[in-house]
C-alpha cells in the first residue's frame, strides 16, 4: 500500500442526526469505543455533522490533528458523501480518504433495540476504519474531449440535432444512408393538427443544414463501426459511390432523360417510376443526381453508358469507388427513425396484393402536391377518383397475438388528417374510419379529431376489419361495428391502412455494433425511461426521435434538441473526469492468463502478447471489480477496494 507502513491518523465523527440516530444508538458510547481502535487518532460525536458547524468541525480537526483519513458515521453515503468529500478537500485531504459509515438508514432506522443497534453501529464504523487504513489518495482520471459530434440519420430529428449542436459552436457530421436528407417527413403531404405543408417547413431546414459552416453532410453513407469511448470515438463511415460528382452536377436532367432504365420510385413509395440515374425529389439535399448501379443497364458503351455521353458538366464518373472515411468524434446522436410495418404481414387485408389497398405513407404521396398524381386523389389501379375510402387504424398495432403489442401513437391523428384531406379533395366522397380507440393526447389534437367527425362528416366505426377482398372493381371490406354489434360490409374504392410504426431496417444490427441496447420491439432503449430519456447507457451516445418508439414530429424534434443540449453539456468541458476507483494490474503478479479480459464488459483489459501481461485502459474501466474477483493471482486489485481491504472489513464486522 501507498502509506509505506506509516501509521494512518484517522478521525471518527459520529452524528446524532438529532434523534434520528441518537434516539436509538448510544452515539457517545460509539465514539468512546472507537477512541482506542487501532488507527483512530480522534473520535467524537456531534449533533448534526452535515450542518455548517459540523462540517467545520471535520475541517478543523483534519488540520489540528493532522488526520489523513476521516470516517463520518451518519446517514447513507448516497446523501452526504459528496458533502463531506468537499469539506475534506477544503482542508487539503484527498476526497478518497473520506468514508461514510451508514448508521442511520441501515441501523438506527431499522433496529429499535438500543443495545443491538449500538453494537451494530460500532461494527459498521470499525469496518469503515479498516477500509480507511488502506485507502490511497486517488486523483480522478482526466480524458480530453473531441468536440465534434456524429449524428446518425438525416431525418427531421437528425437535422434538428445537428443544427442545435452546430449552433452551439461545435462541428457535426450527419450520416444519412439515402441519397438525400429529409427522412420520412419529406414524404408527408400536410401535418396534423395544423395542416401545414410538410415540405414547406422541412426544406428550409434541409438547406440550412447544408449551408451551416459547422455541419458536414454525408449522404448515401452508412456508419460501419464506432470504437473508442465517450469524448474519443473513432468512426468509420462507408460512403457509397454516387457515380455523380456533387459539385459538378448542374441538375439539367439530361442524364435521366436518356436513361432507359425505369424502376419504382422510393420517394413516391413505388407509386410512380424513376430512372436509374435520378434525383430523389426536386428539393433533394444535396442537390445532385445519383446513379443507382443496381438498376443501371451497364456503364460500358456496348451496354449503355448513355448518361455519361450527354453530361456536358462531365459530372458522371463510372469509376467512383466505395470509400471508407474515418472521423474522430466526442459524442454520437442516434436518430435512425422508423419504418412502416410490412403490409405483407396482414394477409387478411390482401397482404400487399391489392393495388388499391395502401399504407399511410403511400396515401401521403397521393395527397401530396409533389406526389405521383399531383395531389389529386386517384387510385393506383386505374386512376379513378375513389368515391368510397375506408381507413383502418391499428393495422399491425395493438395486436400482441399476431403483430405488435404497442400503440403506434400517431395513426389516430394522421388517419383523421388523411380522411379530412381526402374530403377536401373529393367533396362528394365518403370516408369511413375503423378504429379500436381514438387517442388524441396532444396539443389541439382532440379539437382536430372533433373537426373530422363533426364538421367534415367522416364516419367513425368502432371495430376491427376482419377481411378485405376484391370483387370486380371494388374492394369489399368486412368489419364489425362493436357499438351496435352488427357485422359491417362496405364497398370501397380504396382502402388506407394505418400501418404500425416499426424499427427501421438494419437498426438492430447497427445497434449491436454501437452497443446500444434495444427493447423487445427493436426500439432503442433509453438510459432511464423517465429521467434520462435521450441518453443511452453506453456513455457518449444520445438517442432521439422515432428510433426510440412511435412519436410525432414535435416530440421527435424536442428529443433532438434535448440530445443536442446533452452533447453541448458534454462538449462544454475540456476534460472529462473519470472515477479513479478502477482495477489496475500489479504486473509482478500477472501471469497473462487473460481470464479478466473475458470478464470485462467494457473491453478495458487487453492482453499484451509480447509482455504477457494485461494492460488496462483506465478510461474504459468502470470499476465494477468483476475482473478482480476472477483473477487467480490477485494481480487485479480494485483501488480502495482491494481484497485486503475487504478481508479486514469482514474481520472487523464479524469480530469487532
Amino acid at each position: 500500500m501507498k502509506d509505506d507502513g506509516k501509521k494512518k491518523r484517522i478521525g471518527v465523527f459520529v452524528c446524532h442526526c438529532g434523534v434520528n440516530i441518537a434516539g436509538v444508538v448510544d452515539v457517545e458510547k460509539v465514539a468512546e469505543l472507537l477512541k482506542d481502535y487501532p488507527g483512530v487518532e480522534f473520535s467524537t460525536d456531534y449533533v448534526y455533522m452535515c450542518s455548517e458547524p459540523g462540517q467545520q468541525l471535520v475541517l478543523d480537526k483534519i488540520k489540528e490533528d493532522k488526520l489523513d483519513s476521516v470516517i463520518i458515521a451518519a446517514c447513507s453515503p448516497t446523501l452526504h458523501e459528496k458533502t463531506f468529500q468537499s469539506a475534506a478537500e477544503l482542508a487539503g485531504l484527498n476526497p478518497h480518504q473520506v468514508e461514510i459509515a451508514n448508521i442511520r438508514e441501515q441501523d438506527s432506522w431499522v433496529h429499535p433495540d438500543r443495545d443491538k443497534a449500538t453494537v451494530k453501529a460500532v461494527k459498521i464504523v470499525k469496518s469503515m476504519v479498516e477500509k480507511a487504513i488502506q485507502n490511497e489518495d486517488l486523483e480522478p482520471i482526466k480524458v480530453g474531449v473531441f468536440k465534434k459530434a456524429l449524428v446518425i440519420g438525416g431525418g427531421v430529428t437528425g437535422l434538428q440535432a445537428a443544427m442545435d449542436i452546430a449552433d452551439q459552436g461545435y462541428e457535426v457530421i450527419v450520416v444519412e444512408k439515402e441519397p438525400s436528407v429529409g427522412g420520412k417527413m419529406i414524404q408527408l403531404s400536410e401535418t396534423f393538427p395544423t395542416l401545414d405543408c410538410s415540405q414547406c417547413i422541412l426544406t428550409p431546414k434541409m438547406v440550412e443544414v447544408t449551408r451551416h459552416p459547422k455541419i458536414k453532410l454525408m449522404t448515401y453513407s452508412e456508419v460501419e463501426s464506432i470504437s473508442g469511448f465517450v469524448g474519443n470515438f473513432k468512426v468509420r463511415i462507408k460512403k457509397k459511390p454516387r457515380f455523380v460528382d456533387e459539385d459538378k452536377c448542374k441538375l439539367c436532367n439530361e442524364c435521366a432523360d436518356v436513361c432507359p432504365q425505369i424502376v419504382p420510385d422510393e420517394y413516391n413509395m413505388g407509386l410512380s417510376f424513376r430512372k436509374a440515374i435520378y434525383m430523389p425529389f426536386p428539393q433533394a439535399v444535396p442537390g445532385t443526381y445519383t446513379l443507382d448501379m443496381e438498376s443501371c443497364l451497364g456503364t460500358l458503351p456496348i451496354r449503355c453508358g448513355k448518361c455519361k455521353d450527354v453530361c456536358d458538366a462531365q459530372a458522371i464518373d463510372y469509376d467512383m469507388k466505395e470509400e471508407i472515411i474515418e472521423e474522430e468524434v466526442g459524442a454520437v446522436v442516434v436518430a435512425t427513425g422508423y419504418d412502416l410495418y410490412d403490409m405483407k404481414a396482414l394477409g387478411e387485408y390482401g397482404g400487399e396484393n391489392y393495388e388499391d389497398v395502401l399504407n399511410g405513407l403511400e396515401f401521403e404521396r397521393i395527397l401530396s402536391a409533389s406526389g405521383p398524381t399531383g395531389g389529386k386523389v386517384q387510385r393506383p389501379s386505374d386512376g379513378k377518383v375513389p368515391k368510397n375510402v375506408v381507413f383502418i387504424q391499428c393495422a399491425g398495432s395493438r395486436d400482441p397475438e399476431n403483430h405488435n403489442s404497442y400503440c403506434s401513437k400517431i395513426c389516430c391523428m394522421y388517419t383523421a388528417k388523411h380522411a379530412m384531406l381526402y374530403k377536401h379533395r373529393v367533396h362528394d366522397g365518403n370516408a369511413i374510419v375503423f378504429y379500436i380507440d381514438v387517442r388524441t393526447g396532444g396539443k389541439n389534437f382532440d379539437e382536430f379529431y372533433q373537426r373530422a367527425t363533426d364538421d367534415e362528416s367522416i364516419l367513425y366505426l368502432r371495430g376491427k376489419v376482419s377481411k378485405i377482398f376484391k370483387e370486380g372493381n371494388k374492394m369489399i371490406v368486412w368489419g364489425v361495428d362493436t357499438l351496435t354489434g352488427q357485422k359491417v360490409e362496405v364497398e370501397a374504392d380504396m382502402v388506407v391502412l394505418a400501418m404500425a410504426m416499426t424499427k427501421a431496417d438494419g437498426v438492430p444490427e447497427l445497434m449491436k455494433k454501437l452497443k446500444i441496447s434495444i427493447d423487445g420491439n427493436g426500439w432503442l432503449a433509453e438510459a432511464h425511461p423517465k429521467l434520462r430519456p435521450v441518453e443511452s447507457l453506453n456513455q457518449g451516445f444520445y438517442l432521439a426521435g422515432a428510433a426510440l418508439g412511435p412519436k410525432d414530429i414535435p416530440e421527435a424534434v424536442a428529443q433532438a434538441s434535448a440530445a443536442a443540449a446533452k452533447v453541448g453539456a458534454l462538449f462544454a468541458k475540456d476534460e472529462l473526469m473519470h472515477a479513479p476507483t478502477i482495477v489496475p494490474v500489479i504486473e509482478e503478479l500477472c501471469s497473462g492468463c487473460g481470464i479478466c479480459v473475458s470478464m470485462c464488459p467494457y473491453g478495458a483489459r487487453t492482453l499484451n502478447a509480447v509482455r504477457k501481461v494485461i494492460e488496462v485502459n483506465e478510461v474504459l474501466c468502470e470499476g465494477c471489480g468483476a475482473c478482480a474477483a476472477a483473477c487467480p493471482a490477485g494481480a487485479a486489485q480494485q483501488l480502495n477496494q482491494s481484497d485486503s481491504q475487504i478481508f479486514s472489513m469482514v474481520k472487523a464486522i464479524l469480530r469487532g
Partner: protein, 313 residues
C-alpha cells in the same frame, strides 16, 4: 412406403368418393395405407364441447393405437378428423393436467394388440408422440411436390380449380394450421404440382356454414353460396376441398341453394384426392364421380381413357 391412415367414419359411409380416390391415389404413389386396429369415430365434436376430457378420449385412443402399432405418423384426409386429432394431440403435449386425466381414463381401456390380435388392458400412457398429418402435408413434406409432379400422367390444365380450405385446416392457428391462416399456399402448391390451373378467390378460408346445415339449414345456404359464387366469379370451373362437411354443404345441398338463389345453376365440387388420383392416371370409375349432385364428369370427359392421352410432362 407404409403409413398409418385414419379415414374416419364419414369416409366409410357418405364420403366414399374421398376414401376411394385417396386409396387409388396413394396406391399409385406406392404408399400402403394402414388403418389402426379397432379405430372409432374421432369424436368430431371435440372442438365444440366444454368438457374437454370426454372430447379427448376418442382421438387419444386412436392415436395411442397408432403408437402401439409402432406408427410415428398418422395421415388423414378428412379436414375435420385432422383438426380433432391434431388438437387432441397438442393438448396431450401441452397440458399436463389433461394428459394425466385422459391417461387415467384410458388406463383400464381395452385395445387390440397388433401382433396377437388379442385384447389388451394395460398400456403405457400416451404422451402426444404421434405426428398428425393432413394428406396435403404428407404430399408436401413426405412425398415432395417436385416428385409428385414427376409422377403426373394426365394434363389437367383445363381444370380451373378454386382451392377451398375452409376452417379446419387453418384454425385455430396455434393448434391446427397447416399453413399461414391468412395467406395459405399449400393447397395451391399442390394443385400446381398436379398441373391444374389454380384460381385465387377471396372466400377460400370463409365458413361453408358448417353444422348449421343440420340445426339451421336455411342459414347455411348463404355462406355456401358465397363460396361457390366467388369461385365462379373468379373464373374457376370447380371447387376443390378436403372436408366432407364442406362437401355436404356445398355439393349435396346445392338443390337448396338453387331454391334460394335463383340465378345459381350449380357448380361442381371435388375432393382434392379425386384430382390427384386422376392426375396420376386412375380410371375415372375409381373416383366416385357419380356420387356428386352437381355432375363434375364433363371436366373429366375429354381425356377419359388414361392410356390414350397420357402426356409426357
Amino acid at each position: 412406403m407404409r403409413v398409418h391412415y385414419y379415414p374416419g367414419c364419414t369416409l366409410k359411409e357418405k364420403a366414399t368418393n374421398l376414401e376411394d380416390s385417396t386409396r387409388e391415389a396413394m396406391a399409385r404413389l406406392d404408399t400402403d395405407l394402414v388403418e389402426p386396429e379397432g379405430w372409432t369415430c374421432c369424436g368430431a365434436e371435440y372442438p365444440l364441447i366444454t368438457e374437454k376430457i370426454h372430447g379427448l378420449i376418442p382421438p387419444v385412443r386412436i392415436l395411442r393405437q397408432v403408437e402401439i402399432e409402432e406408427g410415428s405418423k398418422v395421415v388423414t384426409t378428412c379436414a375435420f378428423c385432422f383438426a380433432v386429432l391434431k388438437r387432441a394431440n397438442k393438448a396431450m403435449l401441452d397440458n399436463p393436467t389433461l394428459h394425466t386425466r385422459v391417461n387415467e381414463y384410458l388406463a383400464d381401456d381395452i385395445l387390440i394388440d397388433p401382433t396377437t390380435k388379442e385384447k389388451r388392458t394395460h398400456f403405457e400412457s400416451y404422451n402426444g408422440d404421434v405426428q398428425v398429418l393432413h394428406l396435403l402435408e404428407y404430399l408436401r413434406d413426405e412425398v415432395g411436390l417436385g416428385h409428385l409432379k414427376s409422377l403426373v400422367k394426365r394434363d389437367l390444365s383445363h381444370i380451373k380449380v378454386a382451392p377451398y380450405y375452409g376452417c379446419r385446416l387453418l384454425r385455430p392457428q396455434k393448434e391446427v394450421a397447416i399453413d399461414d391462416p391468412e395467406t395459405p399456399t399449400i393447397f395451391e402448391d399442390f394443385l400446381n404440382a398436379i398441373g391444374c390451373t389454380v384460381v385465387d378467390f377471396p372466400f377460400k378460408q370463409e365458413c361453408c356454414g358448417s353444422y348449421l346445415s343440420a340445426s339451421m339449414p336455411e342459414t347455411s345456404n348463404e355462406p355456401s353460396y358465397r363460396v361457390l359464387n366467388s369461385a365462379k366469379m373468379n373464373g374457376a370451373n370447380v371447387v376443390a376441398l378436403s372436408c366432407p362437411l364442406c362437401y355436404y354443404n356445398m355439393d349435396t345441398r346445392q338443390d337448396r341453394i338453387k331454391e334460394e338463389y335463383l340465378e345459381f345453376n350449380g357448380f361442381p365440387v371435388l375432393y382434392f384426392t379425386q384430382l390427384l388420383a386422376w392426375a396420376l392416371g386412375a380410371d375415372v370409375e375409381t373416383l366416385g364421380l357419380d356420387k356428386h349432385l352437381c355432375d363434375p364428369r364433363p371436366l373429366f370427359d375429354i381425356k377419359q381413357n388414361a392410356e390414350d392421352v397420357e402426356v409426357n410432362l
